[in-house]
């Protein structure tokens, strides 16, 4: 095994041992099943696909919860080990610092990915059995799971960067909470405020698009709520979709950038960090 795989495996094992993964999966599964079973009940006879409606509910759940879980899992990963003295020992072994960062990132992504896929998969399977959903709705649900994991990876990378930058674990927790508040709540509120104040005078569509794509949670929202016509009509954002014609590949690329850039920054920061 390479050092990256060994470190990733240790993170996963510790996560399984201290029941973080189990807690995450149970929380997500509980909420997802509740949303899936209750949220899709009113679709009645209007012909809406239960799976497609559930995609809308689960997207909102993901936007709030997955970044939070990712940041909770990772904010301590470097700052905490430095604090406990285990990092000095780890770095005395024949491995490079970047391998530590990548290994930790990989381990956390696998943990979060497994929890998300298991929870949403269970909800999706429950709905799909005994329904007549078409392939498009199933595809939308698959996209939901895939992009949720990708969004999780973006925040795992961000949390790792926070942990590499912070002086101690408590500071890291504070910064991580701030990151979550900004990306999930404040950014959208500020953007809305800007749009209202501007009243469409100077903010042109390309700029609004760019501002939306710049935030990974918004890119995720656009990808899942307007990307597929089947889902878009239930999301209330359907009207936006016409004006904001951003290609799914661009949105995926934007989230992907939020995985790669913080990860690269974490490697760079940790390489210079005093241990």
């Amino acid at each position: 095994m390479t050092p990256i795989a060994i470190i990733a495996w240790r993170e996963i094992r510790e996560g399984l041992r201290n029941r973080r993964v189990l807690a995450t999966a149970s929380l997500l599964a509980g909420l997802a099943l509740t949303l899936a079973l209750l949220g899709s009940a009113p679709t009645g006879n209007i012909g809406a696909s239960r799976l497609a409606v559930t995609v809308v509910s689960l997207s909102s759940l993901t936007i709030f919860l997955v970044p939070l879980i990712a940041l909770v899992l990772t904010h301590d990963t470097i700052a905490g080990e430095l604090d406990r003295g285990t990092m000095v020992l780890l770095l005395s072994y024949p491995l490079a610092r970047w391998q530590v960062v990548i290994g930790k990132f990989a381990g956390h992504v696998v943990m979060l990915g497994l929890a998300t896929a298991a929870a949403y998969g269970a909800a999706g399977l429950t709905l799909w059995l005994g329904s007549t959903d078409d392939a498009a709705a199933v595809a939308a649900f698959g996209t939901l799971i895939g992009t949720s994991v990708l969004l999780g990876a973006a925040f795992v990378a961000t949390g790792t960067l926070v942990s590499a930058l912070a002086r101690d674990p408590r500071t890291a927790a504070g910064i991580a909470l701030g990151v979550w508040l900004v990306s999930v709540l404040l950014y959208d509120m500020a953007l809305l405020g800007l749009l209202v104040a501007d009243q469409g005078h100077s903010l042109r569509a390309p700029l609004v698009q760019a501002l939306l794509v710049a935030n990974p949670t918004d890119a995720y929202r656009l990808l899942n709520l307007t990307g597929l016509p089947e889902v878009g009509q239930f999301a209330g954002l359907a009207g936006l979709a016409g004006h904001l014609a951003v290609a799914p590949s661009t949105l995926l690329g934007a989230i992907g950038l939020w995985v790669v850039a913080p990860l690269a920054a974490s490697v760079a920061v940790f390489a210079r960090r005093q241990v």
Binding site: R13, E14, T86, V88, L89, P94
Partner: protein, 308 residues
């Protein structure tokens, strides 16, 4: 003659405007046990971090197993180094065996050999228990087992016996002796010189990042002037002894009528005469060899006087 395992020349490192190490020279050969002695902040941990390549020196040259430890290529050389940090908090939910397996994989050493290591440090019965339930001594022994993974040629141990009771400490040094006999070079730091009697081949005393002394314990004794300790009990003829510290330099008054004098062996007759000629009648005199702690304190005091 084979090249030394560790060779540092003129190594300096500053932290926040303060010298953590100032122009330090140090060598360690195969099969040698070298003890670094100094107070907290004397530079012991800084030196170990430099040898591991965790930090870079501001100036000077370091070679560990023939490599500059701060160069990327030195990662391979670290395979032959065992390290035990001063404070170590292992993950409490993992068992001792699991933790050792993790570190063995990182070093590319066979995991199966861990069983022998655990037995060697007396932890075989606790291998399957979670580390959270280990005592301080057990954690320290697990740390030593970790440092011994992959049969290292060089061991760097940062205050390894802190928190160990005397019996465990004895066992610990017995393991080190066996390793040194096999040719392993061992550098260990300690803040007590007394503990190292018959245990270190060579002692380096550090104070404020500088080397105060370097040699065997016999050398250190000589450097300090082979000091003796004279204990004097004054007769209770007067309610308060008139004798005061000023009368003979180097005299400490302990508990009223008891005086203590630490001086080089060559001066002892002169000092004794001064006490006997003093204003207070003497009831008893005892002559002892100075302890290692006295020697250590003497070396530090002398250095402090020199640098002031």
């Amino acid at each position: 003659m084979t090249a030394p395992l560790v060779q540092a020349e003129g190594v300096s490192k500053r932290y926040a405007g303060r010298d953590a190490l100032a122009s330090l020279d140090i060598t360690l050969g195969a099969g040698e046990i070298l003890a670094l002695v100094g107070h907290n902040g004397a530079g012991k941990s800084t030196l170990i971090k430099l040898l591991l390549g965790l930090i870079r020196p501001d100036s000077g040259r370091i070679a560990v197993l023939g490599h500059d430890p701060s160069r990327p290529g030195a990662a391979e050389a670290r395979r032959a180094i065992g390290f035990l940090p001063e404070t170590i908090v292992f993950h409490p939910n993992m068992t001792g065996a699991e933790l050792l397996a993790f570190y063995a994989r990182l070093k590319g050493a066979p995991v199966a050999a861990n069983r022998d290591l655990l037995a060697r440090v007396g932890l075989a019965p606790a291998a399957g228990q979670r580390v959270g339930g280990y005592s301080k001594g057990m954690r320290q022994r697990l740390g030593l087992a970790q440092a011994l993974i992959g049969r290292p040629r060089l061991l760097l141990l940062d205050e390894p016996t802190t928190g160990l009771d005397p019996e465990l400490r004895q066992g610990f040094y017995a393991i080190l002796d066996a390793l040194a006999a096999d040719g392993v070079g061992i550098l260990l730091s300690s803040h007590a010189l007394a503990e190292l009697e018959h245990r270190a081949d060579r002692v380096v005393v550090l104070r404020q990042g500088r080397k105060v002394a370097d040699g065997t314990l016999a050398d250190l004794r000589r450097m300090a002037g082979d000091p003796v300790r004279i204990l004097v009990r004054l007769a209770a003829t007067q309610p308060v002894p008139a004798y005061a510290g000023e009368a003979v330099s180097g005299v400490t008054v302990r508990a009223g009528r008891r005086l203590e004098i630490i001086c080089p062996a060559a001066e002892k007759i002169e000092r004794l005469r001064a006490v006997l000629d003093g204003p207070d009648p003497v009831a008893d005199i005892e002559l002892l060899h100075a302890s290692l702690d006295d020697i250590y304190a003497g070396l530090l005091r002398r250095d402090a006087e020199r640098t002031q």
